[in-house]
């Protein structure tokens, strides 16, 4: 089994100070002053792949693991960490294009990598990533590859016959299914899937191994099928104003404030429930 895990490095938008959303004339948003993180759904995808590898203890199922991202060099630190966490390959498709709202281009690059270089038969990635929030890349990738796609996946385990036992949420319940690769698995809410931290020993053993960098244009020119037409163009961005009255209850102690809250507001509101 040859597993490709795709991830995206995004600004931690929850750290943006309230109201500091500056949109320029090219509809770009200044986020350079907050730290970058691995998109949380992709972080789950990476950890789930590692957990899968831990469980696949026989040779038939023992997977090759590749971590892939698209973007500029700010992802390199994360790729090195993933190498230290025993990913066999850590690959960055170098692109300086604005891909925020172009899931079809991301899917085309991933598909080109699989077809030309990786020859992977299982692709795992988060269902959605902050910034674009398109929630479409795994689905379009599945269409380009002609592969099935399972969405809202929360766990993946090895199964007999080089198959995967996949648990995923559907709208009125949970499915637990055995599937035969090739396939694309889009990770949704997956408890206990924070990415593990490499030990010093891991870092010494693997952390200095190289990160592969592939030029996006070269990849597409030599191995890619054209992106599916997206036909979705960003015209504008506006802030969402969520302010309510925000009345702060004053008082000397917590008990005093709670009594004021209860008698001035909550008692009446609770009576209406």
């Amino acid at each position: 089994m040859n597993i490709l895990v795709c991830f995206k490095v995004v600004p931690d938008l929850d750290l943006m100070p309230g109201g500091d959303w500056n949109v320029d004339s090219r509809l770009r948003v200044e986020t350079g002053y907050v730290k970058n993180i691995i998109n949380p759904y992709d972080e789950s995808a990476l950890e789930i792949a590692l957990q899968f590898a831990d469980k696949a203890d026989d040779d038939q199922c023992s997977p090759g693991l590749t971590a892939l991202t698209i973007g500029d060099s700010k992802a390199n630190l994360h790729l090195k960490t993933l190498r230290a966490l025993s990913f066999d390959r850590a690959v960055r498709i170098d692109s300086k294009e604005d891909l925020r709202f172009r899931p079809e281009t991301c899917a085309a690059l991933i598909s080109a990598y699989i077809n030309k270089i990786g020859k992977n038969n299982v692709v795992i990635m988060g269902r959605q990533s902050g910034v674009g929030d398109n929630a479409q890349t795994p689905l379009i990738c599945a269409e380009m590859m002609g592969w099935p796609c399972i969405t809202q996946v929360s766990s993946i385990e090895p199964a007999a016959g080089a198959c995967l036992r996949v648990t995923n949420l559907v709208d009125d319940g949970t499915c637990r299914q055995t599937i035969e690769p090739p396939c694309i698995l889009a990770i949704g809410n997956a408890p206990n899937s924070y990415l593990r931290v490499p030990t010093l020993k891991d870092i010494k053993a693997h952390g200095q191994k190289p990160v592969e960098v592939i030029d996006a244009a070269v990849l597409m020119a030599t191995g890619g099928q054209p992106a599916l037409p997206g036909g979705c163009e960003l015209l504008g961005i506006e802030a969402i104003d969520r302010r309510r009255s925000g009345i702060i209850i004053e008082g000397e102690t917590a008990a005093e404030k709670t009594q004021a809250l209860y008698y001035s507001y909550l008692k009446g509101w609770l009576a209406g429930i």
């Binding site: 949420l169 009125d172 599916l228 163009e233 961005i237 506006e238």
Partner: protein
């Protein structure tokens, strides 16, 4: 604009899907009765008369299938719609709808966008609005290639049925015997309540990352019971497995509509706030006066959540008049 609504009649969420998509059409399109129709995929488990009665359009096409698997439904839908001109395919905002809208556009050469909250039709294009930047901002997009395939934003409306329609025009297809897919060897399905206790709760106590441990989360669950509330949690709490996933509030969990929400130790990330913003009243309890939720609440207490909630339980349970 000619439109078709595509619904999953195999699911117990059918009435919600029908209500939400019907409300979206009413709020966004000045359509004539003949402009739209609904395609409903159903199987033996669904009562046809109920599907027909809840359909958001006068005209509907019932498609009998074995079970609702996206791969199979996409194949059937493309076969059904081959050669038919339609401007807009509208899918619900649930998991299946989001998946089908994107993949159907890819198969038909159309354009797609997920989680749309508003549209403005043009002569040859469609302007769509949806949340971006983890729900902190809202983007305006132009779709230029028909058919436009949209899924709507979750929790946009209460999913109430629209105006009663007197007479339906029903046609039917049968794909019952067609092979489904070649990649699934077996599948066990465990049903769950699609709305959940949080979805129905009039009073929610929401716990955020600031509770810091499973033990404290469990303690908040007890306090919620004592207050007569349901416990909801933010994504960091659920992802740490301090509470079950069905307690998750936000864009990746329940989009709740309680009368009252007490949010304890919740910073107020936009993706979480989307799950409580339809609350009639929001109270924030947070040690940090700068937490975004303080500004997005009706009332806030800046103090330790545990002390405040324990005091509140005493007050609620005593019911004593103010001195």
């Amino acid at each position: 604009m000619k439109y078709k609504i595509v619904l999953n009649g195999c699911s117990s969420t059918y009435r919600i899907q029908a209500g939400e998509t019907g409300a979206f059409i009413r709020n966004n399109l000045e359509s004539q009765p003949g402009d739209g129709s609904t395609i409903v995929f159903y199987n033996d488990g669904a009562a046809k008369e109920n599907l027909i009665a809840a359909s958001p359009t006068t005209r509907l096409h019932l498609v009998k299938i074995n079970s609702y698997r996206p791969e199979a439904v996409l194949t059937y839908l493309k076969e059904l719609e081959y050669g038919i001109e339609c401007d807009l395919y509208l899918f619900p905002g649930d998991y299946a709808g989001s998946e089908l809208s994107t993949r159907f556009a890819a198969r038909t050469g159309g354009s797609s966008i997920a989680a749309v909250d508003k549209i403005e039709p043009g002569s040859e294009s469609l302007t769509c609005y949806r949340a971006i930047y983890s729900n902190y901002l809202r983007g305006r997009f132009r779709l230029g290639k028909k058919p436009f395939c949209l899924s709507i934003a979750r929790g946009l409306s209460a999913g109430a049925p629209g105006n009663q329609i007197e007479k339906r025009q029903v046609t039917e297809s049968d794909f019952w015997d067609l092979p489904e897919n070649r990649f699934t060897r077996d599948c066990e399905f465990t049903a769950a309540d699609p709305v959940g206790e949080l979805g129905r709760a009039p009073f929610i106590l929401a716990a955020g990352r600031g509770v810091k441990s499973r033990e404290k989360t469990e303690m908040l669950g007890k306090i919620a019971k004592e207050l007569g509330a349901e416990l909801g949690v933010s994504r960091p709490v659920a992802m740490s497995a301090w509470a079950p996933l069905d307690r998750l509030l936000g864009i990746s969990g329940t989009m709740a509509r309680p009368k009252l929400c007490l949010a304890a130790a919740v910073s107020g990330a936009a993706a979480f706030y989307a799950g409580i913003e339809k609350s009639k009243k929001i109270v924030a309890i947070n040690i940090d006066a700068q937490a975004p939720l303080v500004r997005a609440a009706d009332v806030a207490i800046i103090d330790d959540y545990e002390t405040v909630l324990k005091e509140l339980v005493k007050l609620v349970q005593s019911g004593e008049p103010r001195e």
